[in-house]
Every structure is written in C-alpha cells, then in structure tokens.
C-alpha cells in the first residue's frame, strides 16, 4: 500500500489485467451475445459481435419447448434442499467441535475431510444400484440426499473455521453473568455466527447447483436439474446454438452473481482453511 507506484506502471498493469480478464471472460460474454441472436446469425461467418438483430425470442422458446422453469425449480429444490439439510446436521457438529473440543476432535475433523476425498466414481455402482432398488433414480429426494452427504464435510469444515474464530472470552463472560446455554446461543453466539453461516450456505448452494456427476448419472427428466437439462443439448438434434446459449445464460447467471459475493469464502471453504 505504502509503496510508491508510478502512473505509468499503473497504466501498464491496468491494460494487461483488463486484456487477460477480457480473454478469460470471452467465452461467457460470447455465450451471452449468442443468446440474443437468431439461429441463423449464431452460425454466421464472419461472426457478428454487436451489430446483429437483437432478439429475446430464444429465451421464450427455451421455456416453451423444453419447460426450462421445471428444471430451474429442480435445481433450486435440489441445491437448496441439500444445502439446508447439510446445515442442520453440520451446525451442531461444528459448534461442538469448536466450543467443546476433546482430544479426538482433530482426528474427527481430518477423518471428515478424508470422506470428501473419496472419488464419486468409486462408489457410483453401489449408489446407482441402491437408488434403482429403492426407486430413487430420477427423484429429487435421492439427489438431495446424495448432494447433502457429498457436501457435508465441506459445510462442517467451513462452519468449524468460522466458529473457531469467535472469541472464547465473550462466551466466558456471558457464562459468568449466569447465561444459560440457551441464552448464550440466542444472544451471544448466533449474532456473531450469522456471517459465517450465510457464506457457508451460499458457497454450498453454488457447489450443489453446479454438481454434475451425480445429477447426470442419477437423473433423466423428472428430477433433472439444469446441469442435466443443458447436457441434453449435446445430442445432434438439439444443436441450436442460440437456444443453448439462452438456456445456459439463464442457468449460470444467478450463480455468477452469488459467486461474486462468496469469492473470499471460496478460498477458505475449498482449501479447508489451509490458505489465508
């Protein structure tokens, strides 16, 4: 901060940063632009950058022909449901490990982390067979369950690192003043934990929204969230670039916006606090 930086150096880094930023963002930008073209112009060579006939008809068609809303609702229910259930299970667990640690707490935490290291593909066969036998294939409940379990270790770790940062002195003071555990929870802990709870919730919603391995393998139509729905555009008869772009834009827009708010938590959450 304190170092003097010449104006020239600022301009050079600004130009370079914008150039790289633009290049990295280009595929997304191009997709958004294509979503407003007609199918004919989406294919045209040379490509049209801004001077094309802007239209929103693709967005209407995506809904009419393939019921986009149905899949978006699935995405919201599956990502939201799995995140909420994971939070309900994780909050007490993280709370107890952060505030009433025992000698085994560290081992338990590392063991939980290690369950996340299990590659999904290693357990694809049994999960598929269990789902088939219990009639869970292509159901929202099944996907909620599987995504909840898959994300649970990350949820617990994120909450644990947040809870651990709440100063113990404040709790001790509250206890000295005769606060019961219930009052301590409501009046002291909760207000301090809310930011951590919110970012854990958001980040895990994002992870569940984008999860593709389980959704592709365990859902077809009825419970298919947006990840599976978009994949259906890969079949040759579904190759409509403008409509694919419109559907894709709708699928990623909310998550990119949420992602912007959670970038700091992303680093903490996905590195399990190993990078600060």
């Amino acid at each position: 901060m304190a170092r003097k930086v010449t104006a020239r150096r600022i301009w050079v880094s600004t130009a370079a940063a914008w150039l790289f930023g633009f290049l990295i963002f280009l595929p997304i930008l191009w997709m958004v632009l294509t979503s407003f073209k007609t199918e004919l112009e989406a294919f045209s060579m040379p490509p049209k950058f801004l001077l094309f006939h802007w239209t929103t008809e693709n967005y209407a068609t995506v809904q009419e022909r393939s019921d986009y809303v149905h899949h978006a609702v699935n995405s919201i229910l599956i990502a939201g449901g799995s995140t909420l259930i994971a939070m309900i299970i994780a909050i007490p667990a993280a709370w107890s490990m952060a505030f009433a640690p025992t000698r085994r707490t560290k081992d338990v935490l590392l063991w939980m982390l290690s369950t996340k290291m299990m590659p999904s593909v290693g357990v694809l066969v049994p999960i598929y067979l269990i789902f088939r036998d219990f009639g869970l294939l292509d159901t929202r409940a099944g996907l909620v369950m599987i995504l909840c379990l898959g994300n649970l270790p990350i949820v617990i770790w994120m909450l644990f690192t947040y809870f651990k940062e709440i100063p113990k002195d404040i709790l001790e003071a509250a206890r000295m003043d005769g606060a019961t555990i219930g009052r301590e929870l409501v009046y002291v802990l909760t207000p301090m934990a809310v930011p951590g709870l919110a970012s854990t919730l958001l980040l895990n919603f994002i992870l569940a929204w984008n999860e593709a391995f389980w959704t592709l393998n365990l859902s077809t139509l009825e419970a298919a969230p947006l990840t599976t729905f978009i994949a259906s555009y890969s079949s040759p008869e579904g190759l409509f670039w403008a409509k694919l772009s419109a559907a894709s834009t709708l699928a990623i827009a909310p998550i990119i916006i949420l992602g912007w708010f959670t970038q700091r938590q992303l680093v903490r959450g996905l590195t399990f606090g190993a990078v600060k």
Binding site: M1, A2, R3, R9, I10, S13, A17, W18, F20, G21, F22, I24, F25, L26, P27, W30, M31, T34, M45, I89, P92, S96, F99, T102, V108, L109, M112, M117, M118, P119, V121, G122, V123, L124, V125, P126, Y128, L129, I130, L149, L152, W209, N210, F213, T227, T228, I230, Y233, S234, S248, A251, I252, I255, I256, L266, V267, T271, A274, V275, K276
Partner: protein, 290 residues
C-alpha cells in the same frame, strides 16, 4: 476447560454428522469391494458368482485401462501446469494497482462458477466448432487452417476446457496468499536494491510454495474425476482418446452394465485418490495446530 455438561452435549451434537458420514463412507465402499469380487452383470443375471480377484486382473490388464490411466495423468498434469503457470502471473498482476480491479477480478473468477455442462457445450460449439466457431474465425484471420478440435486434438480440447474452469481457482488462491505477504519485507528488499525478479524468486515464490502445493493437491482430487466435460463433448472418444478413469468406470457400469468390473475400477480410483488425499490431509492437519 469445557465442563462435563458441555462435553456430553458436544458428543450428542456431533453424533448425527459422524454417523451419517460413517454410513456414507462405509456402506458404498463395502458394497464396491463386495461387487468387485463377483461376476455380476446387470444384463445377465445367470452367471452371477464369486470370481475372486478376476475383475481386478481383467480391469488392470485391459488395454482400455492403460489408455484411460495415461489420459487421466495427461489431463491432470496439463491442467495443473496451465493453471499454475498462468495463475501465478495473473495473481501477481491482480495484486498490482489496477484501475477497475474488482471488475477484472469478477471476469477472471467467473469461469469457476459456470456449471461444467455449460462450459463444455459452449466451448465445443461456440468456440471450437471447426467451421462456425470463434477460434476458426480467428484462425482464418491470421491465415491459418482452423483446427477440428474434437477430431484432431480431442484430449487437448478437453484439457483447455477444464483448464479454463480451474484457472480462476488457482488465481484466486494465489492472489489471497499474495495479499497476506509481508509488505515491509518487500519494501526492504526494494530499498536494498533487489530487482523485481530476485524479489520474486527469493521472497514471493517461497511465500507461494504452500498455496501452490494446496492448489495442486485440491485440483488433483477434483481433476482425477473429471466427468461432465467428457460426457457432453466427446463421450470418451473418438475411440478411447478422451476416456479417463472416471469415464471408463462410468461406461463399464452404466453403459455395459458390468458391475463387477466397474467396481474393481472404482476401487482403483479410490486408491489413486487416496494417495493424493494423504498429502493434503497432512498439510491441512498441520495447519490445524496453529
């Protein structure tokens, strides 16, 4: 410190999470191990029976396995190399004073939040299409012949897509680490007349060693099981050109319905991932002491 009461309470609060994760870990794993010893095809229930380690022998000596293993290693290695070699300078750049930095940051991070099926299809159709893709247009602009990515360089195409998705992750973590670097140390080095390059080599790079290790380990764990990008772009082909271990197991399980063989493959994947996880858990565990 903690009273007996809170300890009992703590154990009670921890139990549901531990129990669920234990079941989640152990039940599918035991089933996979069990299935891996069986001749078990979903198409042919007649020949069901115990075969010992036959599935492992079959899976490990299958030429498809060696191809898939090589593809997996090439994919993981290339994506790691690209994301770290590009992510480090990008993070250094974003650590400078840049006008409109938050907008640039948003643009750089955005790919991480694009769902894999979307990025795969957008790259395949809008960018890499040999006739109407953006890359083909750029190639003709500079007088080159457009590449038919998914026929001529399918694995490279998948690598580029996956690297684009993971570059933001590496950049963001390295940037976070850079921002915690000691400014005074850098200033002192500058005062002593150290060049930018030697400051980078002797101060910044050692500071980045640990975050780079963490990036490598975490990316490896995710990259070993890249699936959606292959599923929607190439379906593992042409031939086996883009089949990685994850896709091979998927196709044995849900395309050929060979449960026994796929389970053996699944265990091989678990073993490979655990080697990586071993090192990651150690690094994270060391951090837990602090």
């Amino acid at each position: 410190m903690a009273t007996q009461q809170t300890q009992v309470l703590g154990r009670a609060l921890l139990t549901p999470a531990v129990a669920l994760l234990f079941i989640w870990m152990i039940v599918p794993l035991v089933m996979t191990i069990y299935f891996s010893t069986l001749r078990y095809s979903l198409l042919d229930s007649e020949t069901w029976g115990f075969v010992g380690l036959e599935n492992f022998r079959y899976f490990l000596t299958d030429p498809a396995f060696l191809t898939a293993l090589r593809n997996t290693l090439v994919l993981v290695g290339s994506v790691l190399a690209i994301t770290i070699l590009l992510g480090t300078p990008l993070a250094l750049l974003l650590d400078q004073q840049v006008i409109g930095r938050s907008i640039v940051r948003l643009m750089v991070i955005a790919p991480f939040f694009v769902m894999p099926t979307v990025s795969a299809l957008v790259w395949k159709n809008l960018l890499m299409h040999p006739v109407s893709g953006l890359f083909a247009w750029v190639a003709t602009l500079v007088g080159a012949t457009p590449i038919d990515w998914f026929n001529d360089a399918p694995l490279l195409a998948v690598i580029l897509i996956v690297a684009w998705q993971w570059l933001p992750f590496a950049t963001l973590i390295l940037l976070t680490a850079l921002q915690s670097q000691d400014e005074e140390q850098k200033e002192a080095a500058e005062m002593d007349g150290a060049s930018a390059l030697s400051t980078f080599i002797y101060l910044t790079l050692p500071h980045l060693a640990r975050p780079i290790t963490v990036v490598i380990l975490i990316e490896t764990i995710f990259l070993l099981t890249v699936f959606a990008e292959i599923f929607v772009t190439t379906g593992g082909g042409p031939g086996l050109a883009t089949t990685n271990i994850a896709f091979l197991i998927y196709s044995q399980a849900l395309v050929q319905y060979d449960v026994g063989n796929a389970s053996a493959g699944g265990l091989v994947a678990v073993v490979i991932a655990n080697v990586v996880a071993f090192f990651l858990v150690r690094i994270v565990g060391r951090n837990l002491e602090a």
